[in-house]
Amino acid sequence: MSLNKTDKERVKAFWSKVAGKADAIGAESLARLIVVYPQTKTYFAHWKDVSPNSPNVKKHGKTVMGGVADAVTKIDDLKGGLLSLSELHAFTLRVDPANFKLLTHCILVVLAAQFPADFTPEVHVAMDKFLAAVARALAEKYR
């Protein structure tokens, strides 16, 4: 299920439409993750305030989405391009890779809610494949 030429074109085209709102998309996606999948809060036990509207969640959502934006520019070589992020997730963060799927789903929900006309089924499948590929690249160094 690797990205073909059409997938990459669709991802880049759609991303250029939504990139301006990346920070808000990130914040919203992370907020939804911790509300819809409360077990994900275990990774943020070091934050005093883990509520969906907290400054920590907003800031971290922005960071995560920044990573996604970067991945779009490295779409032709995600494994190579995301190497240091992969090491970070493998050796320091050690986020269970199952959670990548949960966050992907939340990102897709936010994209659908905020860009209903642009988030067509064709764009949806390309973005789903792309985020799955990013997740695979991030899990590359786990074992």
Partner: protein, 147 residues
């Protein structure tokens, strides 16, 4: 037994009370067939599914989408016993339709996304949580009688 808060019940009832089945049903099923193409395996007799355009304009798929969405009505009316409400349907999906129960989860995810697109910012995190909880109970019930 699944415990529903008053807020969750209200959210689920509200979503389904204002649901346009004729619009959402076809959209959810089409999206599932396009985003997860292996689900097309169950639609061999449904005519042209050759590409996304064909799927979106296929009247048999559209009609089936509406039918499947209405299938959720019984769960909405019997939220406190979805497991038993769907026992027969579960047997049917297993013995007659031979559908891999993982597909129920895929369709549920597509339905969530279609509803999100329809409701926009009104589809808050709390509403998403309640809706996904409801769908996961349905998905679980539909897979329960497989053997």
């Amino acid at each position: 037994m699944v415990v529903w808060s008053e807020q969750e019940r209200s959210i689920i009832n509200s979503i389904f009370a204002s649901l346009d089945y004729d619009d959402i049903g076809p959209k959810a099923l089409c999206r599932c067939l396009i985003v997860y193409p292996w689900t097309q395996r169950y639609f061999g007799g449904f005519g042209n599914l050759y590409n996304a355009e064909a799927i979106k304009t296929n009247p048999m798929i559209g009609a089936h989408g509406i039918k499947v969405l209405h299938g959720l009505d019984r769960a909405v009316k019997n939220m406190d016993d979805i497991k038993n409400t769907y026992a027969e349907l579960s047997v049917m999906h297993s013995e007659k339709l031979h559908i891999d129960p993982d597909n129920f989860r895929l369709l549920a995810d597509c339905l969530t996304i279609v509803i999100a697109a329809k409701m926009g910012t009104a589809f808050t995190a709390d509403i998403q949580a309640a809706f996904q909880k409801f769908l996961s109970v349905v998905v679980n019930a539909l897979g329960r009688q497989y053997h």
